[in-house]
Symmetry: C2
Subunit: 325 residues, 2 copies
């Protein structure tokens, strides 16, 4: 026998995805941030995201934060298609001895995060769990005017850019663990926001060809994004936006800025590939529209597979653990 | 503190449902078999249903059957609105040591049940579970011509009818446990079918005012259905369809027919309320269309709350456990 733990999650997903069917109204199937389907004269995106106690969060964690993050992670997948979140369903399996106040707080976090991003909860399921709490969040979003952006579609030479401040969530987690006082970084970790308005705006711009949200880490997700277009991506560690608080934290914690930025995930920033011809207009227009940084962090390349950072594979670059500077 | 186990699942659902928001495109919110929403010029139904190892199924159960039943239970909620199942998403949390062959079989059952009812899986999530397997199935269905039937909407004096052969799944479970040879009953338990064509047909008929699928048991679900219209329901134990195999099983097992029929759940038969004025045409037309029994099992009544069977509350009728005849 082969256990799923040995086989690997991504390999298993590829394996089962091949058994799914097709439908004329299915525009994007499994393997992107969302599945996309035609519903009458409209186009909808749908995604599910499951969080598990002792895997994604600890029993001691604040329940409202757990609910907020679970909802935001799922909603961010809608934003990553450039769509508008509308409706969410939450299935929860809870141990029978779990305090009602804990569950009320969990749903308060779920509701708040849904509303923050323009969606509401419309249903779900509740059942008993023999051990630990499990919450599965399904979100439905509408693609404005039928427009959406998949992970694939970028071409050789296209630029790769990222919104906002990647690395803040990972830095915030480290601040919590080491009792460092950087409330804005801690907030970025506990109460991340999905880039909903930004995603919809990017989906409207000509030349934007591929998009995803960063949940597993910038370097790893850049690899996934490039792979969806059958390309590699050359990234440079110098071209990243670092806000003053993240810079301060890195100095204080003795962590290299590129490490925390390339390793960091759960920021739910948007990573997108676009035609170099529009770079001169697209990025300034984005900054004006949202008052938010957006920087080119790499370029798609057909000459190799995977990610290179400053010409090196990520393992040699060493982004995958925090190094002392 | 109050634990959720003491507070009760239905009470908790009512409690959290009150915290959800509203939306002009939300036609039916939490509390029915599905939530229903407007998507452009079309109307869609969505539902989620979570199954948990050691709660809904045993580790030893055949994984294909587990997958089939999980998908069918969720799809049946689409049928209960009179809608057409289209797309499903499956989130699964699995222990890392679970055999790949087990998970392949689980997804084979999920895929087969989806296809059997006209739907396909289009996405989902896979994650690690510290203990036991959890699967959450989300199904999206389209309401033909925008037509759907909710649980509410029945009036005093309306008849309550049920399709097919309620009780077969419960009898099949008993056959498995007692090693009785009734393959058709065992099949009804292990491989239930949702009444998809029947639900869509009923949603088209004038006078059909309320509908749900029977998952928890006929008597219990009839109570839920009547409550959604703010009414009670008077049921009679004589007016039920009993196929010859169920009758044979009851004689052999020493079980009363009304007991197994009123206690039985997981048949996914449709229970529906309708205007008595159409009884003479509706039921014969149904039988002709589907070659399937359909019988009036009760009448809505404003004079009392809950269910009465032959004039007695279900507890006195004793349907809630198997009695020796």
């Amino acid at each position: 026998m082969t256990a799923i733990g040995e086989f690997g999650e991504f390999a298993f997903i590829d394996r089962i995805r091949a058994t799914f069917g097709t439908d004329a109204d299915l525009l994007v199937g499994a393997g992107d941030d969302c599945a996309v389907f035609r519903a009458g004269d409209s186009v909808w995106c749908v995604t599910t995201d499951m969080v598990v106690e002792s895997v994604h969060f600890l029993r001691e964690a604040n329940a409202e934060d757990v609910g907020w993050k679970a909802m935001t992670a799922a909603i961010s997948d809608i934003g990553a298609m450039g769509a508008r979140p509308r409706f969410a369903l939450v299935s929860m399996a809870s141990p029978p001895d779990r305090d009602l106040a804990y569950l009320d707080a969990l749903y308060a976090g779920l509701n708040d995060a849904a509303r923050e991003h323009g969606a509401i909860i419309i249903g779900g399921d509740t059942t008993r769990s023999p051990e630990g709490l499990y919450a599965d969040v399904c979100v439905l979003g509408e693609a404005n005017g039928g427009r959406y952006v998949t992970r694939g579609g970028a071409q050789h030479g296209d630029y790769l850019a990222i919104t906002g401040w990647p690395g803040r969530s990972r830095a915030g987690l480290d601040c919590l663990q080491r009792d460092l006082k950087h409330p804005a970084l801690i907030d970025a970790h506990l109460r991340p926001r999905a880039r909903i308005a930004e995603g919809q705006w990017l989906a409207r711009q000509p030349g934007v060809r591929a998009m995803m949200d960063v949940s597993d880490g910038l370097a790893q997700d850049a690899g996934h994004l490039a792979e969806s277009s059958g390309l590699g991506v050359a990234m440079t560690s110098a071209s990243i936006a670092v806000d003053s608080e993240l810079a301060l934290y890195c100095a204080e914690a003795g962590v290299s800025i590129p490490d925390v930025v390339f390793a960091g995930g759960e920021d739910y920033e948007l990573l997108f590939g676009f035609d170099p011809a529009v770079a001169g207009t697209l990025l300034p227009a984005f900054r004006r529209e949202f008052g938010l940084p957006v920087f080119i962090v790499g370029q798609y390349d057909r000459a190799f597979e995977g990610v290179r950072i400053d010409g090196l594979p990520p393992t040699q670059f060493g982004f995958d653990h925090f190094r002392k500077t």
